[in-house]
Symmetry: C2
Subunit: 252 residues, 2 copies
């Protein structure tokens, strides 16, 4: 955490998205102080969600509280896959919508916006039944836009020919809560979770996405979020530098 914060400050990066595991390991209050003292904004906290877990309600309330403590305006929701043994994806999706609704009062009270993230359909069964931006918007729609938004993550939605229409819809509804950038590379690794590429190393039209969220009125941060064992094995500063260079060349 200290290396991350020092690296961001040194590189002139003004904000950082945090994950709950690392924040919990370092200590939530301690992280909040570290980041605040460095003058860094926390752009989002990953992740709430996993609404197929029995303890989803309490766990998400804790996540909201942690986001508030960290000063993160957004809690990213990875909604979870199918319950064990279930084949009922419609029911699982409906449950996500209802669960988000149950969290809205606490989120509003804490000043933290819930952001439903559509994950790539290859994660539909085991990580997130919300598989497209259109679905995420449908689920968010019953609730106030200041309480429930959506995430646009290029890695998850680049293949979708309807994504441009849905980004426009999201913008008009004021629902884009978070914009994340990663590139698509192949072959995918076993389990497919750690297969992302740094910006510019893959086939996604990243600048087209940035221009689309711009045109839709999004004025928030751009988060680079790359899960890959090889990337994670490298020194943080080297990854940060390559991310910034990739951002300038392919996103900005």
């Amino acid at each position: 955490m200290e290396e991350l914060v020092a690296g961001c400050v040194d590189a002139g990066v003004g904000g950082v998205g945090l994950w709950r595991e690392e924040t919990a390991a370092y200590g939530v209050e301690k992280t909040a102080a570290l980041v605040r003292d460095a003058g860094l904004a926390v752009t989002s906290l990953c992740r709430g969600g996993f609404f197929n877990s029995p303890d989803w309600y309490d766990e998400n309330r804790r996540a909201i509280d942690e986001a508030a403590t960290l000063g993160a305006p957004v809690l990213v929701l990875v909604s979870g896959g199918l319950p064990p043994g279930s084949r009922d994806v419609d029911a699982a999706r409906a449950h996500v919508g209802e669960a988000v609704g149950e969290l809205v009062p606490h989120a509003l009270a804490a000043g933290v916006r819930l952001a439903i993230e559509p994950l790539h359909p290859m994660f539909c069964s085991d990580r997130c039944v919300v598989s497209s931006l259109g679905q995420a918007l449908d689920l968010a729609e019953p609730y106030p836009a200041e309480a429930v938004g959506v995430v646009v993550d290029t890695y998850h939605v680049w293949w979708d020919d309807q994504v441009w229409t849905q980004i426009d819809r999201a913008g008009r509804a004021g629902r884009i809560a978070c914009f994340q950038v990663a590139d698509w590379i192949t072959p995918l690794p076993e389990g497919v979770l750690l297969g992302r590429g740094l910006p510019g190393t893959g086939c996604v039209e990243l600048r087209r996405f940035r221009e689309a969220v711009d045109a839709a009125g999004y004025r928030g941060p751009v988060e680079v979020e790359v899960f890959h064992a090889d990337v994670w094995a490298r020194p943080g500063r080297s990854v940060l530098d390559e991310s910034l260079a990739g951002y300038l060349d392919h996103v900005a």
Copy 2:
């Protein structure tokens, strides 16, 4: 090939979908005679497509000819991913539509129907830029339904909440050329190609799909198509028996 045909006949299976590699290895004419003499129908030939290859036109004409020789009424098209170095998925999709159109006269003359198969979005960059049934139907639409149809493969489209509407659309347009069944299981293997499950081993609502294509007017065969290294390593007859049992329990 001989074991396959004998196994189908022995199990009372009246038709089989064939793949070009195996058919070429055994000999196309020889396969045609073997299958015909056994009283077996060839339900489809996999696969044409790969329109991002320089020789796509000649290669697909050959595939159409082989389907005609085998008596396969349908040539399944796996349309190919992005051209090397390209990020232009829109252009790649448009090219698929144009390429299919160029093949229509030859397909009509040969009595072979071209079937555009949407593949799961995890294959979008490297195997098939057609990622949803709606896209496949959009691409087929300019051409006569007797020349160009679509494939509904449960493995590729199960995650899509719009698939039910699109199956209905496909049925009304007389476009369902092929119905294939495989189940979704995790974790996905490296490269994700060989990750399918036999019917009933995963989370797909297979019967709902069969009922949907039925309701859409589809009266053709149901093909079970399972790519998995473990399945392929087993004796063919054991796989066939489990496929038939899974079909009866979860599809029929």
